[in-house]
Structure formats: C-alpha cells, structure tokens
Symmetry: C2
Subunit: 226 residues, 2 copies
DNA sequence: CTGTATCCATGGCGATACTG
DNA sequence: CAGTATCGCCATGGATACAG
C-alpha cells in the first residue's frame, strides 16, 4: 500500500509483500490451496475480512487470478506469484535454522494435523485403507485425538473416530510431535528419546517414519549447537 | 512483534521480518553499511526513531550486534543476519522482474547516486583521479547535478562542484538513468535511444559503461513483454 | 555524530455478526 | 460455501525537536 519511495527492487517487492499475513497466504497458495475456506484452514487466526482484502490486493498486483463467478471462486497463482516459491522456501529454511524456539502459542494441533495430511507421501502407503491415530498428550481439550485415513490415493483427516480399524497409534506431546514434524529432531531421535511413541506391530512401527515423513523443509541443515 | 500463532518456519521468519522497513535495513547492512547515519542514507524516508527501534529489535532477535559504547556504535550482522542474503537477493530479483513500473515518488536522485557510488567497480577505473559529472534533466531543484570522483581506490560523491577536471558528463532524465541503473535497459539501448548521453572523448565514451556498470541485480532476466 | 523523547493521527487489523 | 459489513481499539510509524 504505502510506498517506500525507493526504486530499489527489494523495496518495490516489499511494498507488495510486507503486510501482515500476505506471505503466509502466498505460502498456502503455493502449497496448492485454491478456495477461500481452504485458504482459511491454513491461516485460521486470520479474519475472513482480512483474507478477502489480501486476496484482492494480490489480484490487483497480478500475483493471482480469481476464476468462477458465483459462490465457487477459485484462486490461482500467476507466473509472478509462482516465482515467489524460492523466496518463501528461503524464508522457511532461514526460519528453521535461526528461529527455532517455539512458544506455546505457536503450537496448534489442527494446523499440525492439517499440514501432515496434505504432505504425507501417499504413494508409499499400502494400497488398502490404512488408519493412523494420533494422540496428543498434555491437554484434554478437543483436538487431542485425530485419525489420518489413507485410502484410494487420498488422505483424510478426522477429529472424531471414523470407526475403521486402526493400524497404528502415534503418541506424544503436541510440542514433541511438532518438533518432529518440523525436523528439529529425527524420527529415530524422537522415538529413542521417548518423546514420541508408536504403537503397532513391528513391521508397521518400522514403516511409520516412512509413511508420515516430515515437513517439506525439514531437511534444512540446522545450526550447530555446541 | 505480534505472533502468527503458527509453528511454520515461514511464519516464524515473518514475525521477525515483516514489519515495515525491516528488510530494507537488512539490505543496507548486507551492502556494508555499519553506522547509524550511513544506514540512514540508505533509507532516508525512515525516521531516525524508527530506525533505532528496528536496530534494537534486530539485535534482540540476534540478527546483528552493536559494538562500541559512546557515540561510535558499529552495527554488524551476525551469521543469522548474513544468511538472509539469498532471500533478499531473491526478493530483489523478483521485484525487478514483476514490479517494473516505477512511480514518480520511487525516483530519488540522492538514492540513485549513493547506490552508484558504492557499487561502482573502482578497479576498472584509471589509476589517476577521474571525475564523472551527472546532469539529471527535467527538474531544477537541488540534486540535479552530481560529481563522482574516483581516486586512490575510493569513490566520492559531491553535490557541489569539487573543482577537478571533469573526464566525462553523463546526461539524462532521472527516470532514464534510474531505469538504466536497474538494468531495465542496457547502456547501448539507453545511449542509442537518446535517453542517456555521454559527453567525452571517444575512448572515455566507450569506457563509461564499463566504469559505471549497473546495479548488482541488473542481470536478472526480465519478463518477455510481447 | 548517534541517537532519544514525545506527540499525534492514521489506519491496520482483530472480533463479531451477518448475507447471497 | 464464500465472502461482506461494521465497529473500535491500539499500535505503528511519521514528524519534529531535542540530548549526550
């Protein structure tokens, strides 16, 4: 909105990008979200009014297009928007290396499970329907129990028991599972340290790290501590 | 300052970086500025109070250190700060490709000359003192006439005639010279099109594009138009 | 030269409710 | 499902003056 009064390309870029939430919306679009409420799930703490405003702004700047008229709008990145992928990946890698400490308010079970659901490498899972249950310890509120159902090449997420046979149960605190997902620790480290437990037969127990994996940025090398 | 409530590394990074001016201050530090008033010249439209606040914030987040106690403070990037270089370069490259239109308020003679001064490849200049004068056409205010003095391995910038013999005069509108500097057009294009003129003997005229060059990001490939 | 102190207006943004 | 409408706070940050 407000200009920096500089011809520098970094300044011109930041005029478009430095408002709160903007880059996170772009992250969601890059991860494949295309509809309003799908985007909302990726930025749940953002008000719908503000999301709407940002989407308009991004359209005006030519980073995305909106398609479909009544009640079925679809947002898609333009070439300009898609070319921000390396910048956002760079920011993620930097954040992972240098902003490692997570506060309590950074932890969010819904956000974690939602990210797992959309990232999980389905092609490495068994053909037949497979259900992994997650039990987040340390709080009794809703959102402590989840079921990840992979079937027919799709992953679904439930916060109520879908009733299918459970192939494995993954247990740990929200913090431990978040750190594992981000790649702050590896699967072997987390399991050996007792922070995360897998309950299943021995074959499945060995497969779980492969089935679930870690977030896309998890392989970023960390800063040596000590 | 205010949290996004997300564990995502991009969100954690933006908590540190998305405030207005922050990334431009980091750009200045990456380009080698170390003192308060040196930084100010790179972000002249930023109030000193706000710059001070940002520097404190960046120090708190561990992106820079301040050294020297009384009246001679020196700011230096930490490893964490320096590792933002690829992100900022990426933003610059993106801005150059996709935010090409410059408004009148984006043009600033002081900022342009200051950037030229610190970027110029001194080792390609003659050994003896060489002065290039710039005449920015199109407005009669102060800041339309500059002298770039390269001597003893240093480049100095004057907005009053230093009195030395002038080796070459470069003439053009502020917009034309800015576009040339950013690399939106090449030296041959700018000269052939008449937007920029060089007045000097034929040898020097051929050397000027080598001596002055273009900004660091100028080589970023542009979007094909038509 | 290197900042700090203070003031103030703006509007960004969060919250909530509501509509086609 | 896909947004809009409205409200109001308070923090951001711009301006100016001043201090060590």
């Amino acid at each position: 909105m407000s200009s920096y009064g500089q011809f520098c390309p970094v300044a011109k870029a930041m005029e478009v990008l430095d408002e709160r939430w903007t880059l996170l919306v772009l992250r969601e679009l890059l991860l494949g979200s295309t509809h309003f409420n799908e985007l909302r799930r990726g930025v749940p703490k953002m008000s719908p009014a503000l999301l709407s405003k940002r989407l308009k702004s991004l359209e005006r700047y030519g980073l995305l297009t909106r398609e479909g008229t009544q009640g079925q709008t679809m947002y898609q990145l333009t070439d300009a928007g898609r070319e921000l992928a390396p910048v956002i990946d760079g920011l993620g890698a930097w954040g992972l290396r240098w902003i490692g400490d997570l506060g309590e308010t950074d932890l969010d079970p819904h956000l974690l499970m939602w990210d797992i659901r959309r990232t999980v490498p389905i092609d490495r899972w068994p053909r037949r329907r497979t259900v992994v249950s997650f039990e987040l310890q340390g709080f009794r509120s809703v959102g402590s129990h989840w079921w990840l159902v992979v079937a027919d090449g799709e992953a679904d997420l439930c916060d109520v028991d879908p009733g299918y046979e459970v192939t494995a149960v993954v247990t740990g605190s929200l913090r431990a599972l978040t750190r594992l997902w981000r790649g702050d620790v590896s699967w072997p480290q987390a399991v050996r340290g007792g922070d995360v437990a897998i309950s299943a037969n021995s074959f499945v127990t060995r497969q779980i790290p492969v089935w679930l994996g870690q977030s896309r940025l998890a392989s970023t090398p960390r800063v040596q501590v000590g």
